[in-house]
Amino acid sequence: MAFELPKLSYSGQIREIALGKGDKAVTVGGEMSYPFHLFEGEMPHLPKIAMEVYDTPPEGWAEAALEPFKGVTDDPVAWARKCIDDYGAEMICLQLESTDPNGLDRNAPEAAEIAKKVADAISVPLIIWGTANHDKDTEVLRKVCELCQGKNLIIGPVEEGDYKKIAAAAIGYRHTVAASTPIDINLAKQLNILLGNLGIADERLLIDPTVSGIGYGIEYCYSVMERIRVAALTQQDEKLQLPIICNIAKETWKTKEVKMPTEEDPKLGDAKKRGILMEAMSAMVLLLAGADILVMRHPEAIGLVREMIAELVAS
């Protein structure tokens, strides 16, 4: 008798969510099985990688992370174009770092103007990410929603502390929302329920479970994401049947292990390679846990992850 692979049967499916506009629009989600369990169910849309762009020249970045973007880091539009034209980005994530009240504290209209410029200059879906400061994000993200009406942006992070006003603007100007909660399946579901009560359609909702990189508790993130998928696919938990977005670039590239130059600790190996691998491997772990959108930085790390995805789905 031939060997038969034991298979799980699933009762749920991840919702398909369309992001962006026009011919470069993408769809994420739709999974009918655990990540890459293609022998059990379909994965109609492969995970997407969004490349990071900052609205202000980065400070204190590792040399390796700056190198691919030489000459464009002071211009978010040029940076975004480079990501798409040179590195084949399918999505862009604009980090509105300059709005941080503890930093440059750029005002909402100016920040929204930058977002608008980037949105106008590209045709791939655009994620706009705030600073997780509730008051400031409320101001900034609402303005962004308004100014970029009809672009179907992804707006985040939307947290329990500021969801009402931001989500109201997202509903009004037709954008998608990334609901962000601190690594807990129940909190994730609670925020989705609250957003649902407010009137956000499930088709315009992504889960941001909050993640960290390797060495900084990624196992815990993995476990929470895995549980979200188990609840979604096997326990008919509708409020968790949503694609997951992971903002992993920031988390890996800010660590000491990635920033440390080669000379400082030769045992850790080449600094550039180290950073790229840290990002790529963290991203891989999250993919296996159920990530649908990865926000990444380094083109080489992205290349490695794309290769890995291709291999995982090769028949």
């Binding site: 807990d184 399946i185 129940n186 909190l187 579901k189 609670q190 329920i193 609250l194 009137g199 938990d237």
Partner: protein
């Protein structure tokens, strides 16, 4: 030098008690009040954190630390926290309504106790009436020169010949007075015997003449907050009198943890023991007076209480109950002479305490299970005692699991900005109009409101949720057309009553922090139930009956409790209220040694789950921190207004 000079003594006068006391300079004001027999609330036991001990300094000066609990406005008007104040000069201290203990409600509960009949569907059955103490009349032949055996042998011979009792021991206290009693009674005496659960029989008393008609016992439930007692007729198996009073220990902290903390202070254990004994002695006097009996005819005492209360009563250091791995000194305490503890009964009277299961699952719960007969039936029953320390039991005649979860003091009105015990003036009933968000309130005693009690909290949160004034995470919708939702000093709040409508002269508000506290309390209770049910591999729907015990429990509105996710979403007819399960069990134990042995069997049968060590509990707890619950399927009967 000036040690004995009158100038260094300070006179403190308390109003409205109208009590004076002489204090040393620098003495703590709250302790001074305690010494004067004046009660001032202190939920935190005098740590300065709760702000329930506010007093008004009408005259004189105190040296006081100002904490965040006293507003600038209050401070300027002379309000101080008694526990944070030292007396400097002669004082006139006014104790405001909010800091006083209200006894009126106890009177109300007393009426309810008398009227209350436990539903027979939830009572232990099939036990025989055989109290642990019996009175036996002996007619002995006087000694003669030919029959000159000793008095004791004569007594034992009589017991054997007339009652067939052999191998019986006799307390030395009986022997000491035996010669006189036998002769005083002209060889006709009444012997009191005590049957232990072992069973072992001993003679504990002998009285001249026939006293069999006067054969009484006392049953007590020693609660952390209140002590409830009944005087029982052991000849007829009847309750002759019942009463209750606040546990005298309340002045040393409102919950078991602060009591344990107090017991660790110098002399603390003794003080706590004396406080509760004083309460018992007071009730003892009242009960005998009510029943028209005499204290000397009380033959037995049965007491049920949580593990900490029992240990404090017996004078056993409760320190290790609080420390991991949470071990009590005894689960099954042997009968002790009540008089040795200071209880004002005859020397021969023994006190039996219902056995406990673990540090936080006490004899009060065992008593409840015993009294309700859950251990006798096949019906899978969930027994919940809702309180500061919520206790949960699930089981039937085949198995029993139990857990205790720390819900915090919210259900007793603690940790709530304007919370109070369920006494006169407490807002209890509340419904809120979904159109204009105006509340309709009812208070205990029908007076103007003074604060909010635990059952009121449940009704208020359910009302706010149903009216769409709060979202499912317990946060106010701030864009509604009502002046009642406003930003206060602790964030958003809802005004339940405007200042002129109250007894306290300021707005009674319910804050987002209060909602959070209640959500945490209900989440702990529900998650405890859920964890216990899951640990059995069962589901909520497997529960065939829910018995809710406790005085607080009896005042809960089932629908509202389900709406906020405190109680599982089961058909309402599955819920039974039994009032004080602990006293019920203590009473039945006093009536029947069968039940006393059953009690020990029940205690041994219960498997205790330590929730603090359980990862599933934490997960269930976070899931329950939502109204009614994150998993809305578990509360399908609850309809929430959204938008």
């Amino acid at each position: 030098m000036a040690k004995n000079s009158p100038n260094t003594k300070i006179r403190v006068h308390f109003e409205p008690d109208n009590t004076d006391i002489i204090a040393e300079p620098g003495a703590n004001l709250r302790e001074t009040a305690l010494a004067a027999g004046v009660h001032i609330n202190a939920s935190c036991g005098g740590a300065g954190t709760c702000g329930t001990c506010k007093v008004m300094i009408k005259k004189g000066e105190v040296e006081s630390i100002k904490t965040a609990r006293v507003s600038d406005e209050e401070y300027a008007s002379g309000i101080r926290q008694a526990c944070q104040s030292r007396v400097i000069t002669d004082l006139i201290v006014q104790i405001p309504v909010a800091s006083r203990l209200e006894k009126a409600i106890l009177a109300q509960e007393k009426e309810a106790m008398v009227a209350g009949v436990q539903p027979s569907a939830a009572l232990a059955k099939g036990w025989s009436f055989n109290p642990a103490v019996s009175k036996l009349l002996l007619q002995l032949k006087p000694p003669t020169l030919t029959d000159n055996t000793s008095d004791l042998s004569r007594l034992l011979r009589g017991l054997k010949q007339q009652y067939g009792l052999a191998s019986i021991s006799v307390d030395f206290t009986v022997i000491k007075k035996l010669a006189r009693v036998l002769r005083d009674g002209d060889w006709k005496v009444t012997v009191t015997t005590l049957r232990d659960t072992e069973p072992r029989l001993s003679v504990t008393n002998v009285e001249p003449g026939d006293t069999r008609a006067r054969h009484y016992s006392l049953a007590f439930d020693i609660g952390t907050t209140a002590v409830r007692g009944q005087l029982l007729d052991l000849n007829r198996g009847k309750v002759l009198a019942q009463s209750l009073d606040y546990n005298g220990q309340i002045s040393y902290g409102e919950d078991v943890i602060s009591r344990i903390a107090y017991s660790q202070k110098a002399g603390g254990l003794k003080k706590l023991g004396r406080a509760v004994i004083a309460t018992i002695n007071g009730l003892l006097q009242e009960l005998t007076k009510q029943a028209g009996t005499e204290v000397k005819d009380i033959c037995h005492l049965v007491i049920a209480g949580n593990t900490v209360m029992v240990q404090l009563l017996l004078g056993l250091d409760p320190k290790y109950i609080r420390l991991s791995p949470y071990v009590p000194t005894v689960n099954i305490a042997p009968p002790v002479r009540a008089s040795s503890l200071g209880i004002g009964v005859e020397e021969h009277v023994h006190l039996y305490t219902l056995p406990s299961v673990a540090s936080y699952v006490g004899g009060d719960i065992v008593a409840g299970i015993l009294g309700t007969g859950i251990y006798q039936r096949k019906t899978v029953t969930l027994y919940i005692d809702i309180g500061t320390n919520g206790e949960i039991v699930i089981g039937n005649s085949d198995f029993m699991v139990t857990a205790s979860c720390s819900a915090g003091p919210a259900f007793e009105g603690g940790g709530i900005k304007q919370g109070m015990l369920a006494t006169s003036g407490a807002i209890e009933g509340c419904s809120i109009s979904p159109s204009n968000f105006e509340p309709t309130l009812t208070t205990i005693g029908g007076t103007k409101p003074k604060g909010i009690c635990g059952s009121g909290l449940i009704n208020i949160v359910a009302g706010l949720l149903r009216a769409g004034a709060i979202s499912q995470n317990g946060k106010f919708h701030t864009d509604l057309a009502t002046g009642r939702i406003r930003r206060g000093e602790d964030g958003y709040e809802y005004v339940l009553a405007w200042a002129p409508e109250t007894q306290i002269g300021r707005d009674i508000v319910f804050t987002e922090i209060d909602i959070d506290n209640l959500i945490r309390a209900k989440a702990a209770m529900y998650a405890g139930c859920q964890t216990l049910i899951k640990s059995l591999g069962a589901k909520c729907s497997n529960i065939e009956q829910v018995i809710i015990a406790g005085t607080f429990g009896s005042n809960i509105d089932i629908e509202n409790a389900i709406t906020i996710g405190l109680l599982p979403d089961l058909p309402w007819d599955k819920f039974i209220f039994i009032g004080n399960g602990s006293l019920l069990g203590a009473r039945l134990t006093s009536f029947s040694t069968d039940l006393a042995s059953d009690g020990q069997r029940v205690a041994r049968m219960m498997t205790n789950f330590e929730l603090s060590e359980n990862t599933d509990f934490m997960n269930n707890y976070v899931a329950a921190l939502f109204l009614p619950h994150t998993n809305t399927d578990e509360f399908s009967s609850v309809k929430i207004k959204v938008g």
